[in-house]
């Protein structure tokens, strides 16, 4: 089909273009490269825009991490100035959470896949979708701009009073950046909720909805309920910083603990915002590459909803050492431990799916299995810290850093990679190279464990987090961590080469290279501008592998 030049949602006026209407439906075959740099309203373009932008921020945040680890290779502050160390540490965390994992997992995969998976032509509000994406680049620029003013130095939590006394201008820019990404997140979530609830093809029953959609639905509800509370906290902080109010100034009647409540009411659910979409990706990748129906579809779907609900009642476990009263510690210990149950349900579901499957060890599957092991590790250390007595012991040590990097790097980042290897053929029409993929996986797996495993021991021995200088007794393990960090840095290179090379010259994938059954694989790769010539009709579930001979046959 030849390319046609007209806006996709407006029918052309001239007769020549009308000849290109196929089956009563008007389609552009695909987007050109320059469309990805414009205010494009197509969900697929926006998905890729999110993914690529987030990856650029991942590299920036990663370079900051390398600088931090280089500094920590020796006990003294001999590589970067301690103030710069603080600024890098703050922005490393902020960028990785707000501009890498959340935008890529929810914005990237969510936007690209949701309409395709539910049989819709686009999201419910395409323009709003584009606006939500375009709030992200300026947010990143504000964060980077903050370095001109010394960089925000109070950590990604921006706890007052520290955030009120160090680098006020940089802190203000930091707040504005987070408010921008928060707004983006809310607008995106409105779109996801309405799209999933109202726009799936009528023939798709609720128990035929792919698990990724359940995950994104739960994620969006969580984002809608928690993000505005963070915005409220940040607005108060902004007023304290710039307009002379004293919400968080104890000497003027304010209270710093209320900030912690407002912050963690969002930021604990934020860890589920980061991991729930990844759980969704896992639930898609594992059955496809193990050639088995997913074990416990309903349990996995409902566990996403359960994580969303319980996740809203656990935030105080971040404040066990903030003078929290005993009854509160008890309540939040119990609720925190309860979150582990639906998470465990998912893990068991995936393991049971793998059990006895005809497993294809593609790069996507390798990353998915890698994620399983890492996440179990991170999850277990999370359970230990969810109990108040142990948490008091390891509070603000490297044990915490080890834990959340196992779940966020071993969990989220592995999941994002698994998703990219899995859906790259759909997005570009070409497969990623498997050999490079394996090198990438091996380096990432070794790097992750070498960087973060020793941190558990460092933490148990009492090494504090967030500081540039430390007691020389910790030097050996720190050197190991730093070597690991460099390996992780290197691991990005084969991935980047693979993506760039495969995008233009990789093996052609065909419409459904993995022989998957969910709806996104029924259209061409890359999909047409409005996804389908005619909308598909669903007559079986997304994971019905091996149930009938007809399944897997595509008729049009």
């Amino acid at each position: 089909m030849t390319r046609v030049e007209f806006p996709p949602h407006l029918p052309p006026d001239d007769n020549e273009s009308k000849n290109l209407v196929v089956g009563h439906t008007l389609h552009l075959p695909a987007w050109k490269w320059r469309d990805y740099f414009t205010f494009n309203v197509d969900h697929k373009v926006i998905g890729i825009q999110y993914l690529v932008t987030a990856f650029v921020f991942y590299l920036i945040g990663g370079l900051m991490a390398i600088a931090l680890r280089t500094e920590l290779a020796t006990p003294d502050a001999d590589f970067i100035d301690p103030n710069l160390y603080n600024a890098f540490m703050t922005n490393h965390g902020t960028i990785m959470i707000f501009l890498w994992i959340v935008p890529s997992a929810i914005g990237g995969f969510g936007n690209y896949l949701i309409p395709l998976m539910i049989g819709a032509r686009d999201m419910a509000f395409p323009k709003l979708n584009a606006i939500a994406f375009w709030l992200n680049p300026p947010a990143g620029l504000l964060l980077l701009l903050s370095f001109i003013f010394g960089g925000s130095q109070s950590g990604w939590t921006a706890y007052p009073p520290l955030s009120l006394v160090t680098a006020p201008m940089a802190q203000t820019l930091w707040i504005l950046a987070i408010v921008l990404v928060g707004t983006s997140s809310i607008l995106g979530s409105v779109n996801f909720v309405v799209t999933i609830l109202m726009m799936k093809v009528p023939s798709m029953k609720w128990d035929q909805l792919p698990l990724f959609c359940w995950a994104i639905l739960a994620t969006s509800v969580l984002a809608l309920l928690s993000t505005p509370v963070l915005a409220a906290g940040l607005v108060l902080l902004l007023f304290d910083l710039n307009f002379g109010t004293s919400f968080f100034k104890p000497d003027a009647g304010g209270n710093v603990i209320i900030y912690q409540h407002l912050f963690w009411f969002y930021s604990h659910p934020a860890v589920y915002l980061m991991i729930l979409p990844i759980f969704g990706i896992m639930s898609e990748v594992i059955p496809v590459h193990a050639r088995k129906p997913i074990f416990g579809y309903k349990a996995i779907a409902y566990s996403s909803v359960a994580i969303c609900v319980v996740g809203l009642f656990v935030w105080v476990h971040h404040m066990f050492t903030s003078g929290t009263p005993g009854w509160m510690r008890m309540f939040f210990t119990i609720s925190t431990l309860i979150v582990a149950v639906p998470t465990g349900v998912k893990i068991f579901g995936w393991v049971a799916t793998l059990w006895g499957g005809k497993i294809r060890f593609t790069s996507a599957m390798l990353f998915a299995v890698g994620l399983l092991s890492m996440f179990v590790m991170g999850g277990l250390s999370g359970v230990t810290m969810g109990t108040a007595p142990f948490d008091v012991h390891v509070h603000d040590t490297y044990y915490v850093v080890a834990h959340f990097h196992y779940v966020l790097f071993g969990g989220s980042v592995f999941g994002i990679y698994a998703g990219i290897y899995h859906w790259f053929p759909k997005m570009t029409g070409r497969k990623l190279n498997e050999v490079w993929g394996r090198i990438h996986f091996a380096l990432t797996l070794v790097g992750t464990n070498l960087t973060f495993l020793p941190m558990h021991k460092l933490g148990l021995q009492g090494m504090p987090r967030r500081v540039a200088m430390y007691d020389p007794q910790f030097v050996d393990l720190n050197v190991l961590c730093t070597i690991g960090a460099f390996i992780l840095g290197l691991s990005v290179i084969p991935f980047a080469i693979n993506v760039i090379w495969s995008w233009s010259k990789g093996e052609l994938a065909g419409d459904n290279p993995w022989e998957a059954l969910s709806l996104e694989w029924t259209t061409s790769s890359p999909p047409l501008v409005e996804n389908w010539e005619v909308l598909p009709v669903v007559n079986h579930g997304p994971y019905d592998y091996g149930h009938s001979a007809e399944v897997g046959v595509l008729e049009t």
Binding site: L225, L236, T245, N255, N539, E555, T556
Partner: protein, 197 residues
Amino acid sequence: MTVVTAHEDHGGHEAHPDLRVWGLLTFLISESLMFGGFFATYLFFRGSTEVWPPEGTEVELFVPTINTIILVSSSFVIHFGDMAIKKGNVWGMRFWYLVTAIMGAVFLAGQVYEYQNLGYGLTTNVFANCFYIMTGFHGLHVFIGLLLILGVLWRSRRPGHYSATKHIGIEMAEIYWHFVDIIWIILFTLVYILNIL
């Protein structure tokens, strides 16, 4: 996957259902939690401070009560506008929406008057901080609602833009206005009534 083809007779692509009302409702649920954050902060300080509001920063009730009556009534007025358009009566809608806009403007003017006569400012103490942030943010929302209503009035100049069957923009302005109203009722109870009691 077995895919059955179905012919769609929509010329371009399938008619996209208009889901803007659902989008707005979802957004407003989210928005209300931002106020929830402010209310929680306020209640935290109220519960942990001995004298609340501190001496010298008490609220006055007269103007805010009149304001409350105006705002709550305006929710009924705007609904008359919605009922009018559903009967195809564009002039009726315009009338009621204009009255609502005037009531909204009077509310904002009342709020400015109140600010000028309270005798304390944003930075006086934590109560004043909370008071101005909460009422200020609510005022901002009233202002946005006012703009929406004026937008509806402006668009209604185009012949046929709104009709008995085509009035989503009108409905959305109304829903937003009700939202602003509900938030005010909670705010008024917390900041004014509870402190007088």
